[in-house]
Symmetry: C2
Subunit: 333 residues, 2 copies
DNA sequence: TTGTACGCGTTATCAG
DNA sequence: CTGATAACGCGTACAA
């Protein structure tokens, strides 16, 4: 207790929070003593008195995913500037677990909640509403949702990407995607593909459609790619719902002695370093994870501070054209 | 206030924490009311009264790294079982930032601290000692350190791996490593290489040594690999201090039309999925990130609960032999 | 400018 | 088994 050392009690509080309103002499003395016995204010007591914890909670489906990791890092860094701390948890793509984690966060008295995606456990919005805690859905963009969201428009991104491939002359498309169960982002991407093809009177044949994996795995992508390419006729372009699936598709294509993009064009989603380092750099959609993290931090903070910041921000999802795409082989025959 | 609703105050506390010691009637009534107005206990108040926050803090150098992400996930999951929560922060390989983050955690009243590595800011151990907070160094194994540590023996792992290559007949070695600045794990790996070679009267020539990058980047590894292989004579085996560096080395080797392992053997550290999916699967050291996370959780919890668990656990760092290694070409000439 | 005294929501300690 | 009541450590009007 720094109080015992000095000769005050509330003054210490003032010295720590508003040093300027304390006399020079006392301030220096207090600081000296604080330094001397390594005193740190008790956050719990402060939270109790202030009614604010200075923490925001984020529940991500996973951390083993470059974009989420980057977003978490940026988020944490940005929160730290305003002396807020990040509580991080993983739902492992399970809505029940997500709900439990959020509940834990609320017990911990977080001042705000960050979620990924638009689809949550039905009780979750109710819970948040009742507690009056601000929340933001990230990695999605949905102006129609009552919750504020910050992220790319997944549907539009793949709509545009698909449209680009159609423009190159492709008519037969393959799709490799992880399971859309509890993953509205991937579902939106697939919808984008369907919509873009439908617009041109095209559709993905069932035999060219590979879906159902829970996680994104290079190995699974390889086997699915191989299966899809055994169909006859085979697709001339394969759309992959994330980066590792695209890597797997290309590696398998090369192993099958197929030329990329001569025999088959390949595109992915998410821009991680290896996308440019594989033998044929892969066309993909770049999602600015850092930017999402930063914007989310600012938005949640301003809402915590009472400013009605109903941000629904659409992050640029830039299509990065690389060597893995070209006109279909049919055109050359 | 559930109190106003029912007719008690401390009984609510008991009903929540030890339901069995409360009469059936009251218990059900209390639960009903709690459910009805969606009441959640205030963590700050509880922490203040209990003198325990129910949180442990972890400061990792980065999250964009498979092993750390996995360890964090396992750690968090395991802590949750005992109703503890994980506070996660990134130091970005900066000791000052690490110290600041730890300080923040202590203000937040964490019950334990998890760090990565053995080398920290000089003030850090003092701070922890003074606060009497249990801490664990992870991803390292050092029985001589006063702090308990859980992880692989980085030095031994690369000693053994190097020894294996020597056993295959190699005598000229290349090394590709990120900067060892503030990264004692990598430093230990390099020491392992030096020691193993020295044991056989060998050493890495300066021109075969590529070091200095801050982060592990596939692209940088490629350029360093290319430079190293331009030396004459060139190495017949290249040791990479992490997975992405090894990936880069192999991709560049293949781009240079070198045969792996015919012309050059390549080994890495860390076993991520792509290590088996590149054209030539890469020999590496498998670090069980999940296991580290789990063990760390258990150890820190038992120390928080007062059990003197001075764990210094050495995790198995298994050498996974794959196709990227073989005898040196000299042997065949 | 500084000190006093109360409240924040729980848990722990005693009586009853 | 249950109800008062005193901490827990800090912020904060209010008084000095």
């Amino acid at each position: 207790m720094a109080r015992a050392a000095g000769v005050s009690t509330a003054t210490v509080s003032r010295a720590m929070n508003q040093p300027e309103i304390v006399s020079n002499e006392l301030r220096t003395r207090i600081f000296a003593i604080v330094e001397h016995l390594g005193w740190v204010p008790d956050g719990a007591a402060r939270a109790l008195a202030t009614r604010r914890s200075g923490a925001v909670g984020a529940v991500f489906p996973t951390l083993s995913h470059g974009d989420f990791a980057r977003a978490a890092t940026a988020l944490q860094r940005e929160l730290l500037i305003e002396d807020y701390i990040l509580l991080l948890a993983c739902s492992e793509y399970d809505p029940d677990q997500e709900l439990r984690q959020v509940r834990k966060f609320l017990e911990r008295g977080v001042d705000g909640i960050i979620l990924v995606g638009d689809a949550h456990h039905p009780d979750l919005p109710i819970l948040l509403k009742r507690q009056g805690i601000p929340s933001i859905n990230t990695f999605v963009y949905d102006p129609t949702s009552p919750t504020s969201s910050i992220g790319p428009d997944n549907r539009k991104a793949l709509f545009d990407l698909t449209d680009y491939l159609v423009g190159l002359g492709h008519t037969r498309f393959g799709v490799i995607a992880q399971s859309t169960e509890n993953n509205d982002r991937v579902a939106a991407r697939l919808a984008g593909i369907r919509d873009a093809l439908g617009y041109h009177g095209l559709a993905v044949r069932p035999v060219h459609w590979g879906e159902g994996m829970k996680l994104s795995s290079v190995a699974e992508a390889r086997s699915i790619f191989r299966r899809i390419m055994q169909a006859s006729p085979r697709p001339t372009a394969v759309l992959c719902a994330n980066a590792y699936l695209a890597i797997g598709a290309e590696l398998e294509a090369l192993a099958m002695k197929l030329d990329v993009p001569g025999d088959v064009s390949i595109v992915g989603y998410d821009d991680i370093e290896i996308m440019t380092e594989v033998p044929v750099p892969i066309t993909t959609v770049r999602v600015p994870g850092d930017e999402i993290g930063r914007r989310v931090a600012r938005s949640i903070l301003s809402r915590i501070h009472g400013r009605m910041d109903d941000t629904v921000f659409e992050c640029e999802a830039e299509i990065v054209i690389r060597a893995s795409c070209g006109p279909p082989p049919d055109r050359l025959r």
